[in-house]
Amino acid sequence: MKKRLLAILMTTALAASLIGCSANSSSSASTDGDTIKIGVFEPKTGENGGGGAQEELAIEYANSVRPTVTVDGKEYKVELDWQDNQSDKTVAVTAAQKLISDGAVGVVGGYGSGVCIAAGSYFADSNIPTIGTSCTNANVTLGNDYYFRTCYLDPFQGEIMANWAYDNGYTEVATIDNVGNEYTSGLVKTFTDSFTALGGKIIDAETFQTNESDFKAILTNIKNSGAKAVFAPTDYLYAPLLLNQAADLGLSVQWIAGDTWYSNVLIQDAGDNANGVVADTFYAEGGNSEFDTGFKEWLQADSSRMTTNLDSDAIVGNHAVAYDAYMVLMDAIESANSLDGAAIREALSSMNASDGFACGPYSFDQNGDAVKDTSYICGIDNGEWKFQSEEKVSK
């Protein structure tokens, strides 16, 4: 008897809530008095939760720096609409739809290309301009008129790291690829192409599966191959495992990675074994002192911000591209002088702005990718990330 009651109660609750959520969202006017909504599409949980949280901090900071936007002589307050995409592609679609039905004028985010690809076409269908932060896969903006991004692309990163390796005298390199991971596979592929074009040789190409934690077999292979350097642009998750297990096996090589490894947690997790690791990043601390000091002060002002930033006030590349993504969107809204998605998109595609960014200037190519030719190489030296060099690629 009670079961039946519960069943019916649950069904009614479900029906009511479905009706309820559509009723809530029916006020689709994108402006509510004097405020406009900007969506933040980031993973707060799941495999990319850590990186997403860091980008969210930078977006929150950017919002505190520039809390209003002026359109048609009227000043609007910018309200951020946070949606967690949980690093999961099915959830990402729901999160995107929530932003659309909330009436977001534009969207900023996010970390991880997979979720952005899943959500991108929904933003495009609803004419919502979206500024990607650190989604580096080519397919994010390809064929999507409304997706722009402030970071560079995987092919670019692969080429940069190939140049670095070759210039630093490594002619025989081993690679480690995570099968099933778009980011890692993309980087390994472009690295291999550029590196062999330069005259280098990939003497060992190893692969592993997502969620693997035992790398001893492939590391033994690398040791046996005699490679002096290893290109392993994996997700952060695998970085300390690779480094520690390599140390156990007595494998001492030059580790080369992508932007995901550029994190202070790596130094915590891998200790001395992390020394010598080299990674590229969108932005190196010290590149823009105004941004650095402002952001650091803001982080230190609240202990919970510091906790989210992994108990540190260190600034990483993700902070910079996320901050810039928000700023780019604000600039575009003001130069379009309109809250209409199509108009903002127009303004973005013809944008050429240089002020107020962490790692600007910004203009976008026909795909919507920021025109960038520089990446920053950093290395771990004595338990600290140090800026090493700027690498450029002639486009």
Binding site: T45, G46, E47, G49, G50, V179, A205, E206, T207, F208, Q209, N211, E212, S213, D214, K216, A217, I218, T220, N221, K223, N224, L237, P240, L241, N244, Q245, D248, L249, G250, Q268, D269
Partner: protein
């Protein structure tokens, strides 16, 4: 292929196989008595990894190890009491669903309590000592894993075959109802089985995670399934069989990864399972079971 390369890979395989073998024993014993796959066993093993992370912060390693083993036993027996015991007379599918539910709960609980970010496993210096023989480098734990596994198996085999308790366990796995009539407290025997399984899982987790450095909420699920497969390959219900299966699965995994087919390293374990089930359903060392109606 040089000799040192071969030896290094063999050592990798043996150390992985040793850890798998210890977990597989837990599966095989529980299956032998309850006829159920304890899907949660792999997650108990994962939780044991987290216990060590927290134990080591408040006590020295020589107290932490027994503390972790006791913690794991408590968790395992608690699961048995709460999730399996009430379903003893229920259909097998309900028990299996309950086991999957516990596994789901433990993973989500770990995700909630310890976050999804991998946490680094403490380095117990006595296990981490690194030996170098020419071009071969091994840590002590790598060498220790297979040796310890074999010693523990011998002890366990003696326990099962030579003691009164062991006889009761064998009786329960043959026929629970008859065992009960003979005055054996079946529930106690089941609890003891879980205690043994969890002790070995805790030791396995120390060996496994010391070698692999990090624990995350899902680090138990796939090894768990593989260890069940290992138990089936060796002959379910048979302890030396589980150890043999553990080493076979561990070494196969290393061989496949080392030859460049890591994509299929997990899949191969299951292919092996399906082949074994058709060629020799009772496993390498298992007894031929008669299908009961």
């Amino acid at each position: 292929m040089t000799l040192s390369y071969f030896i290094q890979q063999l050592l990798n395989g043996l150390s992985l196989g040793g850890a798998y073998a210890l977990i597989a024993i837990g599966y095989t014993m529980v299956y032998g008595i309850l006829r159920m796959i304890n899907f949660a066993h792999g997650d108990v093993f994962m939780m044991s990894g987290y216990f060590m992370i927290y134990a080591i912060t408040v006590m020295p390693w020589n107290i932490a190890i027994p503390a972790v083993i006791i913690g794991t036993i408590l968790l395992g027996t608690l699961i048995e009491r709460v999730a399996y015991k009430p379903l003893r007379s229920a259909p097998r599918m309900s028990v299996m669903i309950s086991a999957i539910g516990v596994s789901y709960l433990l993973e989500n609980l770990a995700n909630y309590l310890f976050t999804a970010m991998p946490q680094s496993y403490p380095e117990i210096s006595i296990l981490k000592h690194v030996y170098t023989f020419g071009s071969i480098t091994v840590s002590r734990v790598t060498l220790l894993a297979p040796i310890l596994t074999i010693i523990l198996t011998l002890v366990l085999v003696l326990l099962v075959n030579k003691t009164k308790l062991g006889m009761a366990m064998r009786a329960c796995s043959k026929d629970q109802d008859t065992a009960r009539i003979m005055g054996i407290k079946v529930d106690n025997i089941i609890t003891i089985t879980f205690v043994i399984g969890c002790t070995l899982a805790a030791i396995g987790s120390i060996l496994y995670f010391t070698d692999r450095n990090t624990v995350q909420p899902y680090s138990g699920s796939l090894p768990g399934l593989k260890c069940f497969v290992a138990a089936v390959i060796g002959g379910i219900g048979n302890i030396p069989g589980a150890v043999l299966g553990g080493f076979i699965v561990g070494i196969c995994q290393i061989v496949i990864t080392a030859t460049g087919y890591s994509v299929f390293s997990d899949a191969f374990t299951f292919v092996l399972l399906i082949i074994i089930l058709f060629v020799k359903p009772s496993g390498f060392l298992g007894e031929k079971a008669i299908e009961k109606v």
